[in-house]
């Protein structure tokens, strides 16, 4: 019999096997992929089924359903309810408000915004936090002190409150730091706000890991061979952080999406004409008595996406390093990733 020893398969393939054995995590990964496909299909649905855009109003339009004519917005200002396939997919989930915009189209485009902000801010947070963690953990001394103090101060702020403050302030005034220039309505404003306040939550645990890793023999060996600090940080220490970073990145996307939803719900995140699931809830909430789905459906989309990411993140953590206890600290209004481990 031909025995293949564990080390010949390599750690990544082993991790993949462990992950695939976790049926719950695989199922929720599937759900996440479905959600991504759903929002990617937005232009197709908008063009071929709904035949309208996310911001196109249909205030005075009438809808032909069989022999019946229905008003998209009633004279009292109430939007039409879900039509499902009765009108050939038009107004599948009804209209959003007295403006008579197609809710389904808005849900798909809003999801694009929500996921885009979550993933991009997750990427930026991860990159910035990794660099800060490496610098602080490797150089120690004053570099570490400066970075740690700055992160501590941001950490001690109530996240949502300052997120709101910065979000609104930038939405009114825009931002200009060197070559980086953002106008108030840009979706990069919420991305910037989210990154500022989530970097410390990732950089602190990473710094701790770097501190521990730089004590290891392989770092000493690399230094003895004449490797410079950049080489040691990025070629020696960084690969050892890979599994932690992958897990943090996944969980961070979920946290960021909740943060974005909270900001946008209050009006301090995505600004009109852009919309996201969070801002859709705040529009839908005004019609809760007559059209409850307008608030509940985007809320459910957020719940499913965040739950899927948290469970996948937990599955990755178990698969990549069964002994590790890495976790992101929970902060106000966000999900404690650990909780998702069923």
């Amino acid at each position: 019999m031909e025995a293949v020893s564990a080390d010949e398969r390599g750690p990544w393939r082993l991790a993949l096997r462990r992950f695939l054995r976790n049926r719950l995590a695989v199922a929720f990964l599937g759900l996440f992929v479905l959600i991504v496909l759903f929002v990617l299909a937005a232009p197709l649905w908008a063009e071929h089924v709904a035949e309208t855009g996310p911001n196109q109003t249909h205030t005075l339009q009438k809808l032909q359903v069989g022999d019946e004519t229905r008003e998209v917005v009633s004279p009292a200002g109430l939007p039409i309810g879900p039509q499902w396939f009765e009108a050939g997919g038009k107004f599948f989930l009804g209209a959003d408000s007295r403006l008579g915009r197609d809710e389904m189209v808005r849900l798909m485009y809003g999801g694009r915004t929500s996921l885009f902000i979550g993933i991009v801010s997750g990427l930026i947070t991860t990159i910035v936090a990794t660099i800060l963690g490496l610098l602080a953990g490797y150089y120690r001394g004053w570099v570490d002190s400066v970075i740690a103090r700055v992160l501590d101060v941001i950490w001690s702020l109530p996240v949502l409150l300052f997120g709101i403050a910065l979000g609104v302030s930038l939405a009114v005034g825009g931002l200009k730091i060197g070559p980086l220039e953002l106008s108030g309505g840009s979706i990069w404003v919420p991305i910037f706000v989210i990154c500022v306040f989530t970097v410390p939550y990732m950089a602190r645990p990473l710094r701790g890991e770097v501190l521990a890793l730089s004590e290891k023999e392989f770092v000493e060996a690399a230094v003895a061979q004449g490797a410079g600090p950049l080489r040691v940080m990025f070629a020696e220490i960084l690969p050892n952080l890979a599994s932690t970073i992958i897990v943090f990145f996944t969980l961070n996307i979920a946290n960021n999406m909740l943060f974005e939803a909270a900001l946008s719900f209050l009006g301090a995140g995505v600004q009109p004409p852009n919309s996201s699931w969070g801002s859709m809830i705040s529009i839908g909430e005004e019609l809760l008595t007559t059209q409850p789905l307008l608030a509940i459906i985007p809320g459910t989309m957020i719940l499913l996406t965040v739950l899927a990411l948290n469970i996948v993140g937990d599955g990755l953590r178990d698969a990549l390093d069964p002994r590790s206890k890495v976790r992101l600290e929970a902060h106000a209004g966000t999900v404690e990733p650990e909780g998702a481990s069923v």
Binding site: S156, L160, A165, S169, A295, N310, E338, A340, V342
Partner: protein, 319 residues
């Protein structure tokens, strides 16, 4: 102990200063447009903008501007411009509603969080534990902006069990106050109930493996006494810190969304209305007072914690 308190309060003063500087930067320096224009709001007349510019001294140096801002905030001169209303008065008259919401929610989350955590730690891995784990995960995962619409729609409009939104002061109608707040309390508490039950459960499981628990059993104490007197008590210490941090963070965080969802006219709702109008002075006031409150609560909690657990203050002085 005295030394610890003095050190902790000095630390608090530094953080308060930094927080105020950050608020100043966020509102007056970082954005890329004339600050007077931003403060005045969208429909401001040039005359108003001009007068704000002079009032706030935006032509002076940044440290001077910072001092002017702090002076205005502490003298209660911060005003919103459309309509012209003093911000701190607006905030103070809404504090009772916000405290009613937050304290009630905290009582509920502590009670149910600890109860569920205790029950699931009695038999880790048992049927009850697994059910409660499911409940906790659901509680942690569901965002308030989904939970509130669902509860409001089904329990208020469909079944008419609870009155819809709004707030009645406790001093006027205690019963109305209570019924109006039940749903908001639970909405605000659900996340923490899930989280606290998980934390208590894992603390208790850790403590159960300690030697002194084995000793207590060996002495012949009843299982119930072992669990309550020894395991539960020692598992509660970390919860104290956690609670202090969360209470401040909740008031300055999720409570804003909850108030807005249930139209409770508290400080959070005041902020939410200002955000909707993109009106800066009220948000500046709420942020500053909110952050001060959180920093203060954290310092108090640290001091209480040091009092409860001598290792903390000794450890801190050794550092």
């Amino acid at each position: 102990m005295m030394g610890f308190i003095v050190r902790r309060l000095a630390g608090m003063a530094i953080v308060l200063f930094l927080v105020s500087v950050i608020v100043f930067l966020v509102f007056n320096v970082i954005p890329n447009s004339p600050p007077a224009q931003r403060l005045a709001g969208k429909n401001a007349t040039p005359v108003l903008v001009k007068s704000i510019e002079e009032e706030w001294g935006f032509d002076k140096s940044l440290p001077q501007q910072y001092l002017t801002m702090m002076e205005k905030v502490f003298n209660g001169e911060l005003t919103s411009y459309e309509p012209r209303l003093p911000v701190d008065e607006q905030i103070f008259e809404r504090i009772p509603a916000t405290l009613s919401l937050s304290i009630g929610a905290a009582v509920i989350w502590l009670f149910f969080g600890l109860l569920l955590g205790y029950l699931s730690a009695l038999k880790p891995g048992g049927a009850l534990d697994r059910v409660l784990t499911g409940v906790a995960v659901a509680g942690i995962s569901i965002p308030v902006f989904l939970l509130a619409p669902v509860l409001l729609y089904f329990l208020t409009y469909k079944l008419e069990i609870f009155p819809s939104g709004g707030y009645t002061p406790l001093s006027e109608e205690p019963w109305e106050w209570f019924t109006h707040l039940i749903l908001p309390w639970f909405t605000l508490a659900v996340l923490s109930i899930g989280f606290y039950s998980r934390v208590l459960r894992s603390n208790m499981i850790d403590v159960m493996n300690e030697d002194y628990v084995r000793t207590a059993r060996a002495k012949g104490l009843s299982e119930r006494k072992v669990m309550t007197r020894h395991v539960l008590r020692n598992s509660l210490i970390p919860i104290v810190t956690l609670f202090g941090l969360d209470f401040g963070a909740t008031i300055a965080g999720t409570a804003i969304i909850t108030e807005s969802l249930y139209s409770i006219d508290g400080v959070g709702n005041y902020a939410a209305e200002a955000i909707a109008k993109l009106e800066l002075p009220p948000i500046m006031g709420v942020t500053l007072y909110g952050a001060f409150f959180v920093v203060f609560v954290n310092a108090v909690v640290d001091i209480v914690y040091a009092y409860l657990d001598p290792r903390v203050r000794l450890g801190a002085s050794a550092r």
